[in-house]
Symmetry: C2
Subunit: 243 residues, 2 copies
Amino acid sequence: MSESCLVTRLSRYAAISEREAEFLARMEEAEERLDAGSVIQSPGDPVEAVYVLKHGWAVQRAQIRDGRTAILRVYLPGEVMGLAEIGPMTALHTLAMRTEGAICRFPRAGLTPLFQELPRLAALFTAVSSLDHMALRDKVAALGLFSAEDRLIHFLLDLRARLAVGTIGLGNRFRMPFSQVEIGQAVGLTSIYVNRLLRGMVRDGRIEIERPYVRLLDRAAMERRIGYVDHFRLLDTTWFPEA
Amino acid sequence: MSESCLVTRLSRYAAISEREAEFLARMEEAEERLDAGSVIQSPGDPVEAVYVLKHGWAVQRAQIRDGRTAILRVYLPGEVMGLAEIGPMTALHTLAMRTEGAICRFPRAGLTPLFQELPRLAALFTAVSSLDHMALRDKVAALGLFSAEDRLIHFLLDLRARLAVGTIGLGNRFRMPFSQVEIGQAVGLTSIYVNRLLRGMVRDGRIEIERPYVRLLDRAAMERRIGYVDHFRLLDTTWFPEA
DNA sequence: CGGTCCCTTGAATGTGATCAATTCGAGTGG
DNA sequence: CCACTCGAATTGATCACATTCAAGGGACCG
C-alpha cells in the first residue's frame, strides 16, 4: 500500500485511514503509460477527470498564437493534476508529459463519493490544492517584483521544495531535467538570458551544474535573498472532519 | 435572504438549498466595519478564519523588504476571501481593505460541519476557489508572455469579468477605483509607464476614462487581441453531490 | 494658503530581448 | 572509428521596451 507515491505524498500531511487508502487505491487503479510529450489535456477540452501522476514529470503550459509558451506548473510523481480545474467546464491550458511516464485517470464523477463519504479526505485534497494556489501567488509576486536573476533563484528553490515533499531527506542537489528554453518559459525570460544568468551563478560559485543535476551551494543565502518561505511542509489539519 | 451578496454570487453558479442558505447566513452573521487600509491578515499570522467581503473592495498584496509591492488579487463584494489559504498554517501575503467596507469573519473550524454535513456546498466552495486558481494561472501566463500593454488590457478585462459575476447586465463601463500606482503593482509595471499606456489608449480611442470609471470602447477587439476567455461564468456542477 | 497625493510629460538610462555565429554533445550511419 | 546531423548551450553585438530621474500641474484638505 505504501508503495503508492500518492499515499506517500499525502501522508506527509495527514495520516491516511484504511477507508481513505481504499479510495485512493481506486483512484490509482488503471495506470496508463505515456510517452514524453503526450498531451493529456488541451485548452477547450471538457474537463472530465483528475489525474494522478505515477511516474515521470508533467507540465502545465499556456500558449499564444505566435507560438510563445509559458510553463505554469511542473508536476512531480505522486501529485494530483487537475485539482485546480475542477471548477470550469473546459480546460484553459495544456497539460502534457515532459518525460515518459504513467498517469491514472480518475473521472470527475468519482469525486462525488469523495465529498459525500470521505469528508476528511475531501478536506485534505482541498487543502493540498490550496498549497498549490499559494505557490502560484508566490510566482505572481516573483514575476511582478523580482529581477530576472531572483526569478530564476525562485524557480530553483520552488522546484527543490516540491521535490522535497516526495523525497525524504532531499539535500541541495536535485534533478532539473529542463532545457534552458523551458527554464526561460517558466520564469518569463529568453533562453539566452537564462544561460547568461546560470553561467554567471556558476562562475560566482553559487550553483554547480552537472546536467541534469543542479546543486545549490548556499541555499540559505538564496532563500534569504529573495525572502523565500517553504510552505509545502506544513498543513493545518486541525479543522479537518474526523476520518 | 437574497439580499446577501454572497448568496447572490454563489447562486450564479448553482441553486442554493434551504439548509445551505442557513449555513451561509451563519457565515455572514457578525458583520464588522473596516476603514480603508485596514489590514485583515499579515504574512506570518496564523490563518484562523475565512472572510466574506460584504461591502467595499479588498486586495491581497505581496511585499518585499525594499517596500516594493505587488497586488495579487482584488476582492469584490460577495467574494469569499481566504479560501485559497485554508491549507497552510500561517498567511503568506497581506490582505487589506482598499476602500472602507465590511467583512464577516468565519472561523476555520466552522468549515468542519461544511464538509461533514453539506458536501454539495463544500464542493461548490472548492469549485469557486478553483476558478480563482485558474484566473491566477492566467495572470502568470500574462506576466510571462504579454507585453506591458497587453498585461494592462488583461487586467481590465479580468476585473470587468469578475464584476460581471456580481452585477447582472454589466456593460463595458465599470468602476476602477485604483490609482495608477496600484494598477502598476497589479500588472508589474511602473505607475509612470501605466500612465503612458493609458494615455495612449485614450488617444487611440480604445478606452475612455472618467475617474473612477473606465469604458472599454471595443471589448471584443481587446479580448481577441490577447485571447481572453471569461471563465467566471460557467461552473461544472454535474459532479456535485446531492444537496 | 501650504501640504500632500496623484497624474502627466520629458529625457536619460539600463535590463533583458533580439539577431547572429560558434561550440558542444549525443546519437546515427557509413 | 570517423563523419554527419541535430538539438542544446554558449558567447558577442546591438536594440528596444520599460525604468529611473526630474519637474510641473491639478485636486483636495487641514
